[in-house]
Symmetry: D2
Subunit: 452 residues, 4 copies
């Protein structure tokens, strides 16, 4: 395979090393953005007087053809190409012969790859945003299906207090909404620069690039800019680390939702019923309905975190500017993006199919200990210091547990031994999901506003 | 040590477990923010009718005393306290007796810790911002000391092209400037909420909190808000993961600066001279001047990345809402913040003392291969296709290396064998640092604007 | 604070950098091993003719005094010392004046720290081994308390099949037993070498060291050896990475045990009752009994993994031989060792207090779906192909679920519709925990042999 | 695509989830080992009376055919298969129809995958061992090419002392030799068990499996065993974490060799010349010879560490026994193994082509500061305390540097101002690479014994 370099070398590249160093198998997915770079650069070369008008048109036309093939999915890269830049170059050569070589003038793959990766990130921002919005919509949809549904709230995986199911979903809603903000700000910060050369810039003028960008995008808003600092542009990959960090936090949120739903759909918790289409059975145990999708989501947390660590570690201590190590920045990002997109997409389909096991939830809500805090807060409004109220209810709870009695059935006399304000009638009023929920005045019980 | 819970328990806590579970040794640094929580909560309790005016005043006064001790550094926490909440509670009890217990009404440590950590993050944002600005200023200062200094630009740690020293510094400037943006956006997103209770909110009214916040902060702008979704508030720690991600990227940038400066101050590169005050000697080898500060900076990359991984891993798959695992969110953040702050502070002092080894740089810039690209670009403007120009210069380079001749001393005749446009006069013009730098028209050769 | 270097330097060290670079706050715990190094080195210096007999004796006597203080815990290091080597040196100086300086002849801190860390690792091996053995003993003890107890076995956190509780515990037993093998092999591979100098060895003879080692340890077996390759000795830290890897796997096992026990002690699973001494209550919810120890264990997984990542990252791409980055190898290891030791120690106390909730387990074992595999296997022995048997039982299970009938109460006629071999009598025999367990012939139902 | 489960389900699996959950694209590489499992299990079924002799023979013959296809690389799996188990099952069905179903009797994919992965690890052990041995051989070969070559030894990337080039290589030799020990012990500990069922064992007898293993392997030694504890067998993946830990340490060693060789082949260090076949050029800068292979090796450290972190994180806190998360254990391991194998293979080819730049090394060794330690040690043997000697040489070094004089040219009188024992004749003797090397008596100057 011809390379874009070589004049200095006498010996051929070692074939094992050639295979080892190849990136076409993953950087092919940058084809579209690499062509954008060329579409701008060709125009800049004409503006700078390196290409004449006809040459420029012929290259643009050939690039346009390749772009269409890529967009239509009919383009198959040569598996023996070194990288996407060499690949596109080779394809152009087939179309326009020696003229293709003129395109690779006054630019460098270091410049191209930084441009391509940032353009890719802009597209990822759009896609992840849409997927997150779909999940937010699905959470709202599920929430509206159960507008007044009380639910068991947990701390330490122990039953704690009664909450609204929609508030429970609202917690995840807010997590993913913050993720949305993070990805948006990331997109706003990501600027595909062009013109850095290998590291030092090139002899073309900034305004040649500026006009070329204007020519290509016209009135369409674009983030593309002529380069400011060429060393930074070819050296740094902090934008990829930022993207992977954002995806890691999304994934952390996904793993927690997965864990909860796995737990809540066990025979033991039985609070939620998962849609069958996202579960699997067992090849040995015919009765099983396993929450495999959610388990895979939880499991993928390893990969997403690992890929963040991979990129950060690869970039650790790299001298300026470009180093070949940085070729390895792509796979961790591409993989993580593909996984998180898919997870969000499938989750948005799964969520509306989730059903609250209302009878089982109702049974769980009969657990009187869930109302211990409400009883204590009731005492507080009877002017009992909370610490004392906490102790009183603590003893009451232990008494009830040891004697296997229901708090609701205890007589006024029995209750009075703990505190005179505790009366059977009050207990009946307090030990009730509706009471528990309506007594909470600090929270808004609403999903936050959100406009997709 | 008395705990804030216990009524239900018959057996005492195992002493080894008690020690194991203690967090006072690190969460003490949240003391200030925990008192802010109490200052608001006390007022909210009064607004809600739980405390009367006098009780409120006495608690506020006692809190004020504790706050001053903390601010003045005269406060010593009890090493046997369970956590900062119990610690402050115990201190209040010493001051105002049983009234202290009233403060712990209708709130939970789950709510306090989320508030405290977010308030801490706001303070961190301010501090890291200032430290980053100091480094940006120091980079500008060093840059201005060498306004026209040419420098060796590297790719693959191999000499590549001549660049301006100020552009080289500008690359780091831009990296840290993006870090500044990230931390700023993080600060904007971080809202210390109050009123979540253990997970379900409490019987106080939102407006009781709103008024309390207004009372405390008056006209001072504050990010503090009454809670919206109490489950999210006590459950999530994505803000800490975001902070550690940002610090990891800062650290990645620091590690690269460190690596470069270590390299450039070796006897072999000899491009930079490091200020002695930030180096150390050897206990065995008396001639050594080791770049220890920069090595430690590079080495700390492990710790910062590791702490990000620690937090993300701890949060993986945790069921909603609060779990005790989350106690371990603090040390990784506190450590990373302290290290990065210190690194930035010392770096800002070191940078102005860095000296360019001008003579050695000048010698390095005599390496004619550094101008290979310029020769090739010159040929391009003679209408040679770049690929051909690249090959020509590649052969020229190999010829010069094998025959140990200087390109500048080659005769017109010798040069013409490579290309007729290559003449001795042209070579003398091109093989010159000033030419190399001034020929780059795509870049702006300026530090970006920046207003601290 | 005086340093062990400095002759070459004109400016004093920057005080912030001095604080930043200090390691005494954590490397103090190597004091004992650093003294061993000195005890050998002093003798080697005498063997090599650098010290005379009297000097040697005086130094050894002073070292002995310091060692006793360290062992008795009465030694307090100077917080302003640079590191443990300078610290011990300073202490010796106070005792024997200028003679102390003679000890720091022909050796380097690079050599000392490698020796100290490896000696520390040998001690860690002994301690972790003992802790793991205590956990193995505790698992055996708990296992013997419930010799025939059937238990619910899970896959995908869904009820799967009946297992023996002792086999369930045996799974953890085997995990920790493998951990024991790993730590043992690690210990066998760890050799504290002495004599590397800064990186190149020294003018002392190998046999001077060999005799010194022999003098110190006499007939006591020791792993200490004169150095073979001095560059490797001061450069590499793979032994610390190996130790952290082993601890990470121990921690992974601990996190799984913690997760299971947290789950099994929820109100919903209710299979196990945890000893109260290792749980805590809530400051707001008086009824809570939270499995905090186990949550902390699960949570610490982040820290242990993070510390492994920290060390590996710090060592990534470090040029040979010693670099100051390597100072940061200690904290991650010391922390991880301390945490894992404590976890194992407390777990060994907690385990014997765990109680099987026998009534609740018995109720769970009435879930007939747990026997689906046994029914299918029964059909296989009636010469039904397993895939067909699997389908039959799958339909049977769905029928029972939809019609809310017990498989045991289905008549022969009803059962025959699924398969003629399925008869009420057979179902009663099969749907029984004892049958389920005794029908498993591939496994040994025994804890593996183990001799502490 | 037909699955091995499903009787219980009414709705079809969601097609996106089906794609998401598929593992055939990576677990196909376990085909060979999965067939071994079947070859044993088929015999065990016959031994247990489930299959008759003829059925057994027909299945074995069909399995044999599939195995040959796999071994010859002519087997193409169905991209729509769920996993390798379903894939092989489907293939068998095409060959022997309904009889294939009988093979999937009394076993589970949980059992198969644990067996397959462990068998794979045994093969990996063999392969990595061979690759490590090749690198050790290559290091020896390079070492023998330069038996007496002095070399610059570095600490803190600063010139420190003269060392032997073969000792320098010996440091890497020892690192990889320890890696070899680790992988060997890992292999010894890895036992592919068979017979675990889904988690609880099965109705077959242990001796049916024992005989089946004996039948398959005959006199060939094998690690395969009937299962002991079935829960541990299907639940744990510590062996994969151990393998990734070992590979991470190998990779750490590789990254350090890469860093050194990258540095040593810069124009500035110029100590080593890398074989051209493992370098690349630049598409813009025609003079470049970039150490791309070594940069990629250094860069891959991110991926290997990241994959270790991925697996550990995925396994964190997983409840017993099998969970679908564990499907994701394979890619991190397969990738890491493939990368490390390839790196070692290419490195073994590159090493013999490395050339010491003898002239440049000789020039570097004229740096008199490299002998500072030797001068100090000389003084020690003149009975100067080392600390004093260190100070003397420190001042001498500073004097020489500031006055730009050579230590060798200083007169006896000038030298005497530092110490009377320092005389010009002594300086000439000491400032010599051969002296420096021969004066080191603590080290053995030999590559350790090693028998491939």
């Amino acid at each position: 395979m011809a390379t874009l370099w070589g004049g200095r070398f006498k010996k051929p590249i070692d074939p094992d090393f050639e295979t080892f160093s190849r990136s076409i198998q993953y950087d092919y997915r940058l084809a579209e953005y690499d062509i954008y770079h060329s579409l701008i650069h060709t125009r800049a070369l004409k503006n700078g007087g390196i290409l004449d008008g006809q040459e420029c048109e012929r290259i643009l036309a050939a690039l346009g053809e390749v772009l269409r093939e890529v967009e239509q999915g009919t383009y198959t890269p040569d598996a023996a190409a070194e990288d996407i830049h060499s690949e596109i170059h080779g394809r152009l050569e087939k179309k326009i012969g020696a003229l293709a070589a003129k395109l690779h003038t006054l630019r460098s793959r270091n410049d191209q790859i930084a441009f391509d990766e940032k353009y890719y990130c802009l597209q990822v921002t759009v896609n992840i945003t849409r997927r997150l919005e779909d999940v937010l919509d699905a959470l709202m949809q599920l929430s509206r299906k159960y507008p007044e549904q009380p639910f068991v709230g947990y701390t330490h995986t122990q039953r704690a207090q009664v909450v609204l199911f929609s508030d429970y979903l609202g917690a995840f809603f807010l997590m993913f909404k913050r993720d949305l903000e993070r990805i948006k700000e990331f997109g706003d910060r990501t600027i595909p620069y062009i013109g850095a050369g290998a590291l030092a810039g090139s002899s073309l003028n900034r305004k040649d690039y500026a006009r070329a960008i204007q020519d290509l995008f016209g009135d369409t808003e674009t983030a593309v800019r002529p380069v400011e600092n060429s060393l930074d542009n070819v050296a740094d990959r902090d934008f990829l680390a930022e993207l992977l960090s954002i995806l890691s936090i999304v994934q952390m949120h996904l793993s927690r939702l997965a864990e909860d739903f796995i737990l809540y759909s066990t025979q033991e918790f039985a609070l939620l019923d998962l849609p069958e289409e996202f579960c699997t059975g067992s090849s040995l145990m015919p009765h099983k309905k396993n929450p495999d999708f959610l388990e895979l989501v939880r499991g993928y947390t390893g990969k997403i975190y690992g890929n963040l660590m991979a990129l950060l570690t690869t970039m650790k201590g790299l001298p300026l500017t470009y180093n070949r190590d940085m070729q390895l920045d792509k796979e961790p990002v591409f993989e993580a993006v593909a996984i998180v997109e898919k997870e969000l997409q499938i989750l948005a389909k799964l969520l509306p199919g989730v059903a609250v096991e209302e009878a089982a939830v109702a049974r769980a809500l009969q657990d009187e200990f869930l109302y211990a805090t409400e009883i204590a807060e009731f005492l507080v409004f009877q002017r009992v210091a909370f610490k004392e109220a906490h102790d009183i209810v603590g003893r009451l709870v232990r008494y009830a547990k040891e004697n296997k009695v229901s708090l609701k059935t205890m007589s006024d006399g029995q209750l009075a031994e703990f505190h005179p304000a505790l009366r059977q009638q009050e207990m009946a009023r307090i030990i009730d999901p509706q009471y528990a929920i309506s007594s909470k005045k600090t929270i808004s019980h609403k999903l936050p506003e959100y406009h997709a």
